[in-house]
């Protein structure tokens, strides 16, 4: 906007702000490598790094199971989102058919449905189906979401009709046009969708914590949360510092995958975040 050169004060302010945002992450990760006792006795120092907290955490916490379950949910739910949402978006963007406006209206309406309202009804449905503590309960609800359809519709609408007609002239079937013409063109949008879906599924907590209560199906976030609750529940526990060390080790390891993806693919992340704001 203003073409004047930014002053020193602006850089100082931005740097302070950036440090404030990054410090809690840095503190958690660096503390997780400290001898547990020092987290309490000298919380701001950085001592000789040790893996003790990680060793103890891996022994005490089924974090591997958590990672495996999250990976499974992410793979299936992600694949469904990446296939069905652009497909529906394509139909809404490039076809005219009776009832289209009504159907798209329903998609838009579900965008406004707060997720929380569905938690209790869904839980009841899962128990009626005998699906509590199953992968299908973690995966199916919300696996084809309205927002992604809306977003993909916007992206696909920008493709020139001539391109699609050319595919039709070449004799491609309706699905062939989607797979061979539409998908390659919207690759950047698909990348942003993939990154955002990964973040949402990886961090999802409310539904997994309600739908699953046995250790073998818990996702990573649920494993983490139970860990925290065990600690808050045992405040007079014997070795307070050791528990904190494990807590920070588990938290740090859980943060890592998304932070790495984010740093590598930040452009797609930001596009994904902004895609939401266009509907405002």
């Amino acid at each position: 906007m203003n073409p004047t050169r930014p002053g020193v004060a602006q850089y100082v302010l931005l740097t302070l702000l950036a440090l404030a945002f990054l410090y809690p992450i840095w503190w958690a990760i660096s503390s997780s490598f400290k001898p547990a006792a020092e987290i309490i006795t000298s919380p701001l120092s950085i001592g000789a790094p040790t893996l003790d907290n990680y060793r103890a955490m891996f022994a005490d916490v089924p974090i591997g199971t958590g990672f495996a379950n999250t990976a499974l949910v992410l793979a299936v739910k992600g694949a469904m989102t990446m296939f069905f949402c652009p497909l529906a978006g394509y139909a809404f963007a490039k076809y005219t058919f009776p009832g289209k406006d009504l159907l798209f209206g329903v998609v838009l309406l579900t965008l406004m449905l707060p997720t929380l309202v569905l938690i209790i009804p869904l839980l009841l449905e899962m128990s009626a189906l005998g699906w509590v503590n199953t992968y299908q309960a973690l995966i199916l609800p919300g696996s084809i979401d309205a927002f992604s359809i809306f977003w993909m519709r916007q992206t696909i609408a920008a493709i020139p009709d001539e391109l699609i007609d050319a595919g039709r002239v070449d004799g491609a079937g309706e699905f062939g046009i989607f797979a061979k013409v539409v998908l390659p063109v919207i690759r950047p949008g698909m990348a942003a969708l993939a990154v955002l879906t990964t973040m949402n599924v990886y961090n999802d907590f409310v539904w997994p914590v309600v739908a699953v209560n046995d250790t073998s199906h818990q996702t990573l976030q649920v494993v983490l949360a139970t860990l925290a609750q065990n600690i808050t529940g045992n405040r007079i526990g014997a070795d307070f510092a050791a528990v904190w060390g494990e807590l920070l080790a588990a938290g740090s390891i859980a943060m890592l995958p998304l932070l790495v993806i984010f740093v590598l693919l930040q452009r797609h992340f930001i596009n994904g975040i902004l895609a939401g704001s266009v509907k405002g």
């Binding site: 309490i40 497909l87 139909a91 209790i120 961090n203 907590f205 588990a250 930040q266 704001s277």
Partner: protein, 288 residues
Amino acid sequence: MRSVRLTPYLFVAPFFVVFAAFGIYPLIYALQLSFMRWRGAGAAHWVGADNYLYLLTSPEFWASLGNSAVMWLLIVPIQVVAGLGGAVLLANARLRLRGLYRVAFIAPFVTPLVAMAQVWIVVFDQDHGPVNYLLNLAGLPDVGWLTSTVWAKPTLALLFLWKTTGFAIIILLAGLQAVPGGVYEAAALDGASRWRQFWSITVPLVRRSMAFLVVVQTLAVFQMFAEPFVVTEGGPYGSTTTAGLYLYEHITASDLGTGAANSFLLVLLVFGLSLGAVRLLRPKDEVS
């Protein structure tokens, strides 16, 4: 040609199948259940509007809404101001290192909420946490960040703000960058001060982004669940039992009829608040 006419329906069908099975069906079931007394086992009894009346006359229900309202006040105004400030700082075309600052601001948004909620437990612990350690070094007494009814809400609000203000900055920055630079030059030529430019050009032009931000965050604050669930378990003395957490407590109490009624009351409230926010923040010259 018949297949072509069927095609679009086939393409959109998967969404509607999933939505019917895991959206419409449970909603209708829940609506019915909200008029029944059912404890998760045994027979359900029709009780009319009793669940709704019970909630509307229950101090706990109103306290949960009150807690969420306070959270909203602690979060949304601060976030709009801080987000706009951060966006204005980043918007200068001649700023160096913008990419790096942007990464720093959004990094918290990418971290898992549950993991950071645990970090909050440690950082704000009354007896051994680093924040009180620093206060003690400065000769100040301990603060019960998570154990006092005064401080627990602001401490949770800080977690929310820390995690999502980068999101606010990105949204508002996009709004700002849509403002053509020439507008400011013209205003500067007309002798408008920087402050005046900010209020007369910047704010009106980012109204749309601001409205989006306020609606999204209002929805998020009134559904806030993981922060109090993990960090404070709704305490101390229920002071962080948000509307979202209170809803969950009906599940643990196996009072599902009341829980269903509570869900619908919360939806009505959130809908009303979003509509109000959109109306208030809508640019004046727009109809849609």
